[in-house]
């Protein structure tokens, strides 16, 4: 599968990357077509927030916890009544509340943790070993990648000039923009 068409610049500092982002936005590039890749989170910079970052991960984890807790409660309850001949002994309840609570609690937490991991993987599209993705190993060396996916053919020069002016150390392309 061929790599997607893109033009991107590799920037040495977050300030350069921010300038490039501002310049691309000024040129009217839609946020959905801007690609950003970094080797570390730069939460405090605007270029990391070009697309909305809201997530329901907390709520999903809580829901996962509730479902796991309910299953845990059912398991604990069932384990106590599932004997071939359940007997009430010494006036104690057949379903003991404290052990039931402990198992319910542990499975609530386990389920919340697993739900979080699954949500992370699903929402980030991981694992994804596709070869057609835009990526540059220079990112691992600290470079910040800012680029445009599928730009118009006639916008190439303008985009490259904008990335260059913002301080790109290298400008590269993929797909039909491969240099």
């Amino acid at each position: 599968m061929a790599t997607a068409d893109s033009i991107y610049g590799l920037f040495p500092t977050p300030a350069d990357a921010q300038r490039a982002m501002d310049s691309l936005r000024d040129a009217g590039v839609a946020p959905a077509r801007i690609v950003v890749m970094t080797a570390q989170p730069f939460e405090e910079y605007g270029f990391m927030h070009v697309k909305p970052m809201r997530t329901n991960m907390y709520k999903i984890a809580a829901c996962g916890g509730i479902i796991g807790g309910a299953l845990g409660f059912w398991l604990a309850w069932y384990m106590q009544v599932a004997y071939p001949f359940p007997l009430t002994t010494g006036g104690m309840p057949l379903v003991a509340p404290w052990p039931t609570g402990i198992v319910t609690y542990e499975l609530t937490m386990l389920s919340a943790i697993l739900t979080t991991v699954i949500t992370l993987l699903v929402t980030t599209g991981l694992p994804s070993w596709r070869k057609d993705k835009i990526y540059d190993p220079e990112v691992s060396n600290g470079m910040l990648l800012i680029g445009v996916i599928d730009p118009a053919e006639n916008a190439r020069e303008d985009l490259e000039a904008r990335l260059q002016r913002a301080g790109a150390e290298k400008i590269k392309g993929t797909g039909r923009f491969t240099r």
Binding site: V35, V36, M37, T38, A39, Q40, P41, F42, E43, E44, F47, M48, H49, V50, M53, T55, M57, Y58, A61, G65, L75, A76, M79, Q80, A82, Y83, P84, A96, P99, T100, I102, V103, Y105, E106, L107, M109, L110, A112, I113, L114, T116, V117, T119, L120, L121, T123, T124, G125, L126, P127, S128, W129, R130, K133, Y135, P137, V139, S140, N141, G142
Partner: protein
């Protein structure tokens, strides 16, 4: 830490992955031999029967269960401490967290294996699983041992994911820098196709925040439940309400000590002097000091309450440990857990890396003795006179070999981990060099230098 470029950080932290010294190989072989000896001892115990261990009526829990409690306690080094530091947003945590989280995963795995080693017929360990046997009988949920099954597995799964998630970006880093094809392929699979988009970073940080919130109560519950293995039994000096917090505090205490030792070894052997700084040891040393004081408080509370209660069965065990056959072990424990660490950690001049390591070694020894002293004296002097015997239990070579082998296994696993995965989270360290983080570090450094100035002025004024 000195301000370093991303390339320098990559170079420094990935260096151990690319080079293997002769010393490393020799130590690895040595550790492997010790682990193999432990495997042999366990194998002969399976073949010849549990009689090879020194346990006998009435002391049915001894070395193996001591090790179980000790290793589960030690596992609190990582995930719990790392989660607390993450939630507090302590910037100095960055080089420490992974070293700590790895301890949790390995110590917990080793700890969880001890109930199986302790079983006379380990192949029947699955009887603890929540499923009905062929006669339709489910395990007894009222038994704390079954609670252990749920708690330890939850903590293990939580700790493994808590360790693995922040490793994904570092796998991608190693993938991008790998020279050999096989290495590139392995790390490509492990990196899951990570590319470092803002969405990926945001989701990873959110997930880590949720995990940190979830894993703290799980960690506390694990050691509470381990303590209830004892406290739920009507055995002298076990049936106590203080046991759960006492065990949790002890676990964190031994965990911090293990972390300090591991960090000092990594610093020395992987040449991470520029990353694992004296300030990290000093901060952990302060935490260790607090836990040492808390430990003394719990021991004193437990002992004082027992003494005032003056129950004959409790007092018999009490005096066995205070001035009887177990007293040398008890006072060694007090010496290791308080007398040694307190001055080393309370006096600023002594709170050096060496001081912290000496205190930590003391604490690890002391906490192992504490676990032993909780289990064996109580079991050797229960309520009925027929079971009273001070010499009911002597550890055998099988138990000693298996115990030593687990320490070797811990070191072996840790060394192998550090060989294949960056032992310091590279991306977190780089993130610590952002303006926001560096400002906080500068503020801390500024505060320290102002404090030093004030002390110097006071000293000079005193001299005048």
């Amino acid at each position: 830490m000195l301000q370093k470029t991303p390339e320098q950080i990559n170079e420094d932290l990935l260096r151990p992955l690319g080079t293997t010294s002769i010393t490393y190989r020799l130590v690895l072989i040595l550790l492997f031999i010790v682990v193999a000896a432990g495997g042999y001892a366990f194998g002969s115990q399976i073949y010849n029967g549990i009689g090879l261990a020194g346990i006998q009526r009435p002391v049915f829990w001894a070395f193996y269960i001591t090790n179980f409690v000790f290793w589960i306690g030690l596992s609190h080094a990582g995930t719990l401490i790392s989660a607390i530091l993450r939630l507090c947003n302590a910037t100095w945590r960055r080089p420490v967290t992974r070293c700590a989280e790895v301890i949790t995963v390995f110590a917990l795995s080793i700890g969880a294996s001890f109930p199986v080693i302790h079983l006379g017929r380990p192949w029947l360990a699955f009887w603890l699983f929540p499923y009905p046997s062929e006669r339709g009988i489910w395990p007894n949920i009222r038994s704390p041992l079954l609670w252990d099954f749920f708690a330890i597995n939850t903590y293990l799964i939580g700790s493994v994911t808590f360790l693995l998630l922040p490793m994904i970006p570092d796998f991608a880093l190693v993938r991008d820098r790998a020279v050999s094809n096989i290495r590139k392929k392995i790390y490509s699979v492990l990196a899951l196709g990570w590319s470092g988009t803002p969405k990926q970073w945001h989701r990873l940080e959110t997930a880590m925040h949720i995990m940190a919130i979830a894993v703290i109560p799980v960690a506390v519950s694990v050691h509470s439940i381990v303590s209830w293995d004892f406290a739920m039994a009507p055995v002298p000096m076990w049936h106590s309400t203080i046991f759960a917090p006492y065990f949790v505090a002890g676990a964190i205490f031994s965990g911090i000590a293990a972390l300090i030792i591991a960090m000092a070894m990594l610093r020395k052997f992987l040449h991470l002097e520029e990353y694992l700084l004296p300030i990290h040891f000093e901060n952990l040393g302060k935490l260790l000091l607090v836990m040492s004081l808390l430990w003394v408080y719990f021991v004193a509370s437990e002992r004082l309450t027992t003494w005032y209660g003056n129950e004959p069965a409790d007092m018999a065990v009490f005096w066995m440990t205070q001035r009887g056959g177990f007293s040398p072990l008890f006072w060694t424990m007090v010496f290791c857990n308080f007398i040694v660490p307190f001055p080393l950690l309370a006096i600023k001049k002594l709170r050096t890396i060496t001081g912290c390591v000496i205190a930590s070694i003391g604490v690890v020894i002391g906490m192992w003795l504490e676990r032993f002293l909780i289990i064996v004296p109580s079991l050797s002097h229960k309520y009925l006179a027929f079971s009273w015997t001070a010499s009911a239990y002597r550890p055998t070579w099988t138990e000693i070999t298996i115990t030593v082998a687990t320490f070797a296994a811990m070191a072996l696993l840790y060394m192998l981990f550090a060989k294949f995965i960056p032992i310091i989270s590279v991306w977190e360290l780089k993130a610590g060099q952002h303006p926001a983080a560096t400002e906080e570090l500068a503020r801390l450094a500024d505060g320290q230098s102002r404090l030093a100035d004030r002390l110097r002025t006071q000293r000079e004024a005193g001299a005048d």
